[in-house]
């Protein structure tokens, strides 16, 4: 069955208007409706309906996603506060300071939004975000997030399995890698006015990594729509890799036969490898990766020991067996 409806072109053809002319509000409500419905379906499918409260910051929770399934992922972890998780961000498109994204991304327009799928897949084209989301089983997963700069947080993401989405594009046998690309729009993204990085921001995964059930497409956090500074409207979350692998505000997904070009990797190949798995025994050339500072940690609190694969080794270590992780860092 064809799960993805190709819209951009057909829409123009049928109604003679550009997709950008569709009123933002109706699109917004539609998307909200889709999310609600998928949440409902998924909720019904989740036998027993686990209801496990988060550890902290319940007041920050919103119910933008109705009947969202709570999953066992990360239950028992203490969460980074909503405020800290949304005010200390690396999103160079909105400035290189940690506070810049929260300050500069507020006017960022994320609706309407579409994603172009290219390369080694049978169902390529440009898709409205709604059409991608309406097939998604919305769930909440609490994941640890470890930045390459040695700070970390724990976030209750809302989203869906990356593998489920990628399968719908029907990648061919030639698809060995998948690349993700962030929007390039200097008018909206002031950080792109300077060439701090080689825009547009790109990063990617090996296909078997991408198909791992841990990989997540996030559209929300703390039960809310994803704040712009956290990569709205849709971003990648790969919890066993350093944060910069988690491409934000995705506009393009490309299946490739060869290892894709990754922005940080090309900027400083000795510092940021293609794999960039969290690994306490392979230091960044300029700082140690053995420990991390949790956001919101008390001034006197000692740093936390970083875990191999950020503690997700059981689920992902097999992807790298027989690989020298000091060479393929």
């Amino acid at each position: 069955m064809s799960l993805i409806i190709k819209t951009s072109r057909t829409h123009n053809f049928e109604q003679g208007i550009k997709s950008s002319e569709i009123t933002a509000e109706s699109a917004y409500l539609n998307r909200r409706e889709f999310i609600k419905q998928s949440g409902l379906l998924a909720g019904a499918a989740w036998a027993g309906g686990l209801s496990l409260p988060a550890q902290a910051d319940n007041s920050a929770y919103a119910n933008d996603f109705k009947d969202l399934i709570k999953t066992p992922y990360g239950q028992g972890e203490s969460l980074t506060s909503f405020k800290d998780a949304t005010s200390y961000n690396n999103f160079y498109e909105f400035g290189t300071g940690k506070k810049d994204p929260a300050a500069n991304a507020q006017q960022f327009v994320t609706d309407p939004w579409s994603i172009t799928v290219e390369g080694e897949a049978n169902k390529t084209g440009t898709f409205h975000l709604e059409d991608i989301l309406k097939h998604a089983q919305m769930e909440e997963r609490i994941y640890r997030f470890r930045c390459v700069e040695a700070w970390s947080m724990t976030v209750p993401w809302v989203g869906f399995s990356l593998a489920d989405m990628l399968k719908r594009f029907d990648p061919t046998s030639k698809a060995k890698y998948v690349e993700f690309e962030t929007l390039y729009d200097p008018k909206q993204m002031p950080g792109q006015k300077r060439r701090v990085l080689d825009w547009p921001y790109r990063d990617g995964l090996r296909m078997d990594e991408a198909m791992n059930p841990l990989c997540f497409m996030a559209v929300g956090l703390y039960g809310r729509d994803l704040p712009n500074q956290n990569g709205a409207p849709i971003r990648l979350v790969v919890p066993w890799k350093y944060g910069f692998k988690n491409v934000k505000s995705i506009v393009k997904i490309k299946f490739t036969e060869h290892q894709p070009v990754c922005t940080w990797n090309t900027t400083a190949p000795k510092e940021y490898g293609f794999y960039s798995n969290v690994n306490p025994s392979v230091d960044h050339p300029r700082w140690s990766q053995a420990t991390e500072r949790k956001l919101g940690a008390n001034f006197w609190e000692p740093k936390t020991k970083t875990q191999m694969f950020n503690g997700y080794g059981e689920q992902v270590a097999h992807l790298y067996k027989d690989m020298d992780l000091t060479k393929y860092f």
Binding site: K83, S87, Y92, R194, V196, T267, R286, W287, L295
Partner: protein
Amino acid sequence: MDAMINRNWLMQIKEYLPGLCFFKPFVFLLCLVPFAFYVSGALNQQLGPNPVEAMIRGFGDWGIYFLLIGLSISPARKIFKLNWLIQYRRMIGLFAFFYVCIHFASYIWFEQFFDVQEIIKDIIKRPFITIGFVCFLMLLPLAITSTNGMMRRLKKNWLRLHKLVYPISILALLHYFMMTRADYLVPGFLLLVLSVLLAYRIVRSIKSH
């Protein structure tokens, strides 16, 4: 006429303001403002989600700012004919040392929790930390010899010794550049300022020969 009066008024400020007894303590307190900002921010949890990083970087930034302010004093004094500025050079230099010290101390305390082995490993293994540490070491003799007594005792050598501030400033900026990930705007601007200040001295020394 107006211009004359204005000029007089300006001259008077230039001459007398620094002579007022409260002026030097006022400058002294002003130099402590960044320190107070970070300490009160730490106590009131207002340094953001990563307060340790904010404090260590903040103190490091101010160490560099004070080095550059210190290096501006002689040129400003000569260009604007503000002789009294010289009275503030030692204080500014010592504040640069102060901020470098608390930058290093907050790294020892909050980043490494006094783990001497880790600190030594870090200093040896990580070139940007090595360079930062060298800056600190090079500042020590300057701080120790900043007293009037030392100035008298060292005579001509005092000036020679204190020329160390030039390599210290260059290394301090190198330290900043080496810890930067991608955005060189701020360290680049500081480098521009330092370049102008050093170029001024080079030009003057060429002219005087």
